[in-house]
């Protein structure tokens, strides 16, 4: 293979949209809004798993929450015919993520699992990713956070405690994914089995509204859920192609 062919081949590869090689997994979460009760078990589960700090009332008053997953509430109609709609909002791990392109130091990028990864110790805190994120799911450490002793005994050693001036967000519990992959390797399996691993929020959801898996596997539960006619993505029109798929709530007229 002459140098020129080689170069041409590489060039073609590097010019290929997305990535020059296929991702190992395409982790996806589906959220069935018809099941979601807005109970927020997912919020606490995430806070416990990912060492999300207790920011305190003053910070919250300034609007500096840190919880990686939140429940958004939208009222419809007026009394007495009024409805409250819940929608869990977390990092959508977009395949065409606006936040990734803007980071000047590549502190956020797509990793081999197709996740939108945040490299805390590379982040210099320009906060532009948060500006570019249409889902408002990136949270910034405006100051140092403390855990009153002995609350720090609970901190999860698999997850970093973030420093001030660093952007952070949902990772789809990447530490669990990593462990699952290790186990798969130990068992001599090439891939992680469907349902073998769940992020904290999915695991805790009492109404089983959240499902997690690899959409590359057509047999996986998420693949089936995505085939549901109710499936849609939030802010689809922005073409960020999120990895979080919502299932429409069935309206009150339905029986």
């Amino acid at each position: 293979m002459s140098f020129l062919d080689d170069f041409r081949a590489r060039w073609r590869a590097y010019r290929h949209p997305g990535h020059y090689e296929r991702f190992d997994y395409a982790w996806t979460m589906t959220i069935d809004l018809d099941r979601c009760t807005g109970c927020e078990a997912c919020v606490t589960a995430c806070q416990a798993e990912n060492n999300i700090p207790i920011v305190g009332e003053e910070a919250l008053a300034k609007g500096r929450e840190m919880q990686w997953i939140r429940i958004e509430r939208y009222w419809e109609g007026e009394y007495p015919d009024v409805k409250l709609r819940f929608i869990p909002m977390l990092c959508q791990h977009c395949d065409a993520a606006p936040c990734e392109t803007v980071c000047p130091v590549t502190a956020t990028y797509h990793n081999q699992d197709g996740l939108n990864a945040q490299i805390y110790n590379r982040c210099i805190g320009t906060r532009s990713c948060s500006v570019y994120c249409p889902y408002e799911v990136r949270y910034f450490n405006y100051n140092v956070h403390h855990w009153d002793k002995p609350l720090d005994e609970q901190l999860n050693p698999d997850v970093t405690v973030r420093e001030k001036g660093v952007m952070e967000k949902c990772t789809f519990c990447i530490q669990r994914i990593r462990q699952a992959k290790d186990h798969a390797k130990d068992d001599g399996r090439r891939r992680v089995r469907d349902g073998e691993m769940q992020p904290a929020c999915v695991q805790s959801c009492p109404a089983e509204a959240l499902v997690f898996g690899d959409r590359q596997d057509p047999q996986s539960r998420v693949a089936k859920m995505m085939a549901d006619p109710r499936a849609y993505r939030v802010l689809e029109e922005l073409n960020t192609s999120p990895s979080v798929v919502y299932l429409k709530k069935v309206g009150a007229d339905a029986g």
Binding site: Y14, G18, Y20, A96, A97, E100, T101, Y109, H110
Partner: protein
Amino acid sequence: MAIDAIGLFRGPEAALEAAGRLRAEGFAALELISPIPLEGVEHRLGTKQSVIKRFTFFGALFGGLLGFALAAGTAVLYPHPVGGRPIIPIPPYLVIAYEMTILGGILATVVGFLISARLPVIRERAYVSEASVDRFVVTVACAEAGEAQRATAILRAAGAEIVEAALGRAGPA
């Protein structure tokens, strides 16, 4: 060492006059030192060709290529898939190339200027400090005293005030 004949003029015209005559007399090493850039120096002292534009052009060219290479090279060495874009997306890297083009052009121009204007000075040259105020000075570098006398004569004839002490005097102090 070289002996210089130096004449001071109160106005540009006289100075140019004298310079022209000296050139006609065959004095090659002429210099016209003035507080302001003078028009019409060329056709009195011959047209000048500067290499600066080549510096500028190639500098800019090199800068542009370097810019694109820098961006693309980085992406290839650290292939981080970002925002679903290719590893080497053309449009953003053109911006980088554009900026580097200009940077290269600017730096090369400066180098070109310094070289072609023979700055910064490495050896002392004939100079009269009044030239930075309102005097127009003609200096002639002569091989030996005889020539210097002739040049001086011509200058004096042109109405110049001769700087005797300037013969062989140190350059900018």
